[in-house]
Amino acid sequence: MSRKISFNCPVQAGDEDRYRIQMGPQHPATHGVLRVDLDLDGEIIRKCNPHVGYLHRGFEKLAEHRTYVQNLVLTDRLDYMAAMANNVGYCEAVEKLLAIEVPQRSRYLRTMVCEMARLASHLLWLATHALDIGAMTVFLYCFREREELLEIFAELCGSRLTNTYTRLGGVRQDVTHSIMMKLEKFVDSFPSNLEEYETLIDTNRIWLKRTIDVGTVGADEAVGLCLTGASLRGSGVDYDIRKHFPYAAYDFMDFEVPLGETGDTYARYRCRIEEMLQSNSILRQCIERMPPGPIIGDDAPDLIMPNKPGRKVEVDVPAQQSLIKLVEDRETFMEGDVYVATEVPKGELGFYFVSDGNGTPYRMHIRSPSFLHISALKTMAKGSMLADLIAIIGTLDVVLGECDR
């Protein structure tokens, strides 16, 4: 735009309807610290310019200074609504790079926690999306179910949100009967709970008015914008990593990928609701088919990895020698680059590793779905009403921790 614009004032003298306003970073409906710069013509958005980076923490740089095992902790903080799914995605990528085998039982456990994370994330999405649009009750109901899931996580791995559950080559600890009982209770009651949300909003005329034909994006356009996950499937494009490159135990699971048709906010909402039902059925299959066996492979690396090839992490305490002398002399790691994508609740989360043969990644690039969704906001919000922007941000399901990394 060539004309000079100052903030919060008419763009041009005599053109009193054109305004530029700032939304965020402190705004209850921006899901974190997103700032959107809007050029308005009355109520209509002429230009929408999202500013991200308010949560840029330097993940990719930090990862170059930590070992592969330590970087696992970083991935919890990526998409903090579904930390488990990030853990699994990271481990799948590193295991491919370092050629580590994963036992079958831990594959099932990973699938299980992934789907639990998907439910937790979608519930939070539904809660905040509904809250932004104006349905307060759904928020309270969704958190009720999410809390059950988080308590299961807490029992499973000791932490509610930042789980650090998976390990390279397996998972941290086994499930107990009490955990599975709780999970099964949750799985049994979840469809009826989902019906409650649907009763509240599915046919509610306010909800329909605010979602149908809002933020419409066509199939080709959505692919061009690099949308993934439910945001893409709402437009009718059949792309789900769980089907395209099955990881963990998704090969053995029966599930369908819900597809929308119209590509508007309501279609994406329906897609996610159906996805929750599918996740629920995957969880049930996991419970039923959980195989016996070890939870972590024999060749899994120790938590202390050497960060230089050939360097030994050696601890030698003469008095307690028999107990303590531990030598880690893992062979030089592979050199090469690998990209592995997994389907997290937001979309396609990919890790691109360049390995230099060291114990630390030479370069780790995180392909985060939210970052690309934010870039699509520019196109999607153009020409819509100001109030619809909230719905569009909500429907893209962005989380800024993952977006800014």
Binding site: P25, Q26, V33, G53, H56, G58, L62, R77
Partner: protein, 173 residues
Amino acid sequence: MGQLNENDLVKIKDGVSFIPGASALVGPLNRIINWGRAGSIWPVTFGLACCAIEMMVAGSSTNDLDRFGIIFRASPRQADCLILAGTITKKMAPVIRRVYDQMPEPRYVLAMGSCACSGGLFDTYAVVQGGDNFLPVDVYIPGCPPRPEALIEGLITLQKKINQEQGRWSQLV
């Protein structure tokens, strides 16, 4: 009403009493004001990262912060407590400071979680190593992220701190 006896007063809190039938409170102004402030902490809805999710849980039905008179306000002008819930990056720090500056006195700052307290895991070029570099932090809540109950406990710590304040109201007169 004749002479007021000590025994006639209904003790509400240590040092604060209620006169029956007179709808009046007796006690040092400090205590009354602190009691009022501690019972109505209004934080800004200002989530930064992971901890914001736990803050939302604390505000949801499972924990229900309203029991403590804690109501989230969307505008810093109406709030008197800033919960730093998440990582503070250098790009975000001036914005946080601007939010803080908009809040009316008395205002309190809670640093929730490792990142807000000291930078935590992220000892990098982009992250502020602790919110107390540019804000006067009142309460530190460790945890990554803290449980919602830990946040409530931190708010109770803040209430205790408010109750011990002396004469902070006189700044406003």
